[in-house]
């Protein structure tokens, strides 16, 4: 691969507003059933405006991200189709689609837009109504159920069509990096299982405290329901079967309906609004196609190198890490790759509870994708929402304990795309 170079922004940019819907299956809740993409995106956008103390008329431009708008919403121009829900008729906007990395790209685009001087106040939102499918010739509030048989063939869309699909070269991803890690550090399959189960356990403990999370029932309770006293015993039992060689059911993110938005502006203007501004110091970027060896590891390494170099920061400066861990091992592996945990030792930190939301090296205090839920394109923006909330000190009972000033996010998704932003409180 060929390395990239990241410079400093022409002007400093900060997040001044955030909004998010819960991640959920709308059809399971009579209060939510029938809600549409426009309403979800619109709600998150208006929440972000209220958070900042802005009206729709104050927003200059917006970005719309979704992993797969044609499949989930039968829309090719979704930015146009949501704009009026939050008072943006006639204003400029753009749609972008980078699979599960869309949320992080949405942040990157909005920040670069403001940094360039093109616009002052920019909203960036992402949405995915991932738990249902559009019905031909019916309005958006009517949808049909979706099954694994619908989703799995569609996953091909993130692979190169000239070579990767035909050569059977794109399906290695879920186990590839954890297998490499296991061999490199000589762990047994049982040890890997324990580490992953501990991450599931701590993630659920955080999600139980997070009203936006999708799976909130603690494993103690799920264990008890089947007559077990020990949640770890439950996690390694046949109630939680293996879905790949290394992953169990709890190692895969459940699909969700969800939306999230941020609003950014020049840091010099940010004090005028309601919230403590959170500066975006830089965003590293790297992409590799699925046929490329150890692609998730390589793009994580490269994007982290860029953002450390551009910001002059080092892993010791990072107080909080969010990882888009729709495949659970990513949480540990990415944390080591960006230097947040020591190489080959991170799994011990997980086992000691140090990476839990109430540990001294917190990762994913919102519960992580496997408990929080995965609304594909919107997941990254939900991570940005959580990082900003934590840096403001507004995360309530799941507030991390180390008084974080600086957060890193390891955005990742289909294809493969990686973005690594660093966010910092403004003194």
């Amino acid at each position: 691969m060929v390395e990239g170079k990241l410079g400093r922004f022409s002007r400093s940019v900060s997040v001044i507003g955030i909004g998010a819907t819960p991640f959920c299956i709308i059809d399971d809740d009579p209060e939510m059933k029938g809600l549409t993409e426009g309403e979800f995106f619109g709600h998150a956008a208006l929440m972000a405006m209220a958070d900042a103390g802005l009206e729709p008329r104050d927003i200059d431009y917006f970005y719309h991200g979704a992993a797969n708008p044609k499949f989930f919403n039968f829309a090719a121009t979704p930015n146009m189709q949501v704009a009026e829900w939050f008072g943006m008729r006639g204003k400029g906007s753009v749609h972008h689609s980078e699979a599960c990395c869309s949320g992080y790209v949405g942040l990157e685009e909005a920040v670069k837009d403001v940094a360039s001087g093109a616009h002052d106040i920019v909203l960036s939102g992402c949405v995915e109504m991932a738990c249902g499918l559009p019905v031909t010739h019916k309005p958006a509030h009517i949808r049909k159920p979706i099954s694994l048989e619908d989703v799995l063939p569609d996953l091909e869309a993130i692979m190169d069509r000239a070579y990767t699909r035909a050569l059977g070269a794109g399906h290695i991803g879920q186990d590839d990096w954890i297998d490499l890690y296991r061999n490199e550090y000589h762990l047994t399959e049982e040890q890997i299982d324990e580490v992953l189960n501990k991450m599931s356990y701590d993630g659920r403990r955080a999600a139980a405290l997070n009203p936006l999370a999708m799976l909130r029932t603690p494993f103690e309770e799920l264990a008890k329901n089947v007559g077990m006293d020990d949640p770890m015993e439950y996690l390694r039992s046949s109630y939680n079967p293996k879905t790949t060689q290394y992953l169990r059911g709890t190692g895969n993110a459940p699909s969700a309906d969800g939306a999230a938005c941020v609003i950014v502006c020049p840091t010099e203007m940010a004090h005028k609004f309601k919230q403590k501004p959170i500066e975006v110091l830089g965003i590293g970027a790297s992409c590799l196609e699925l046929m490329q060896p150890h692609n998730e590891k390589e793009i994580t390494k490269e994007a982290a190198r860029q953002v450390y170099e551009a910001t002059g920061l080092s892993p010791d400066d990072i107080d909080l890490l969010l990882v888009n861990d729709f495949v659970l091992p990513s949480q540990l592996l990415a944390a080591e790759e960006v230097g947040y945990l020591p190489k080959g030792e991170g799994w011990k930190w997980v086992m000691e509870g140090r990476t839990a939301f109430d540990g001294d090296r917190p990762i994913n205090p919102h519960g992580g994708r496997t408990s929080y839920g995965h609304a594909y394109g919107a997941s990254g923006m939900a991570d940005v929402y959580e990082a900003v909330l934590q840096l403001r000190g507004q995360a309530g009972p799941r507030q991390v304990k180390n008084n974080p000033k600086t957060a890193m996010l390891r955005g990742f998704g289909g294809g493969q795309n990686c973005r690594i932003p660093i966010l910092r409180t403004v003194d």
Binding site: V2, G168, A169, H171, I172, D175
Partner: protein, 138 residues
């Protein structure tokens, strides 16, 4: 500048049991499967070259319920793995003949020598790999 057909030539090559790649005119790195430009050094020009197909398998990732390949549901025993061809290119591929039962033993013996399998699909030939004979493994 003429637009050169690369994808079609690659698959035509597979049908004749040949592996075509492209070699960078500046750094000599090989693009496989072939592309126009070099992704090792970032130079714009490459030229056709033929690869031997001999190489090594560096990893064995089993296909299971959630990472199976819908394109290849007819295959009985296959896994995924990191392939390195003797000309220096590395890529992910589908490997035939590996099953859960022999995977554990094979993993301990990695890297293992492999050869290409030209596999006929409807309307095109694709490329998988297979282990050379390994002593003591069925």
């Amino acid at each position: 500048m003429k637009i050169e057909k690369v994808v079609e030539k690659f698959y035509d090559g597979l049908a004749e049991h040949k592996l075509y790649g492209r070699k960078c005119k500046e750094c000599g790195a090989i693009e496989f499967p072939p592309k126009y430009a070099c992704n090792t050094c970032g130079y714009h020009e490459t030229e056709w070259t033929e690869l031997s197909g001999k190489g090594k398998l560096h990893s064995i990732i089993l296909a299971s319920t959630l990472n199976k390949d819908p394109w290849n549901s007819e295959l009985k025993n296959y896994s995924y793995g990191l392939v390195e061809l003797e000309e220096g290119v590395k890529f992910n591929a589908t490997i035939l003949g590996i099953r859960r039962k022999n995977a554990k033993k094979l993993r301990e013996m990695l890297p293992l020598p492999i050869h290409p399998v030209f596999y006929e699909k409807e309307g095109f030939t694709t490329l998988f790999f297979e282990l050379d004979e390994v002593e003591g493994i069925e």
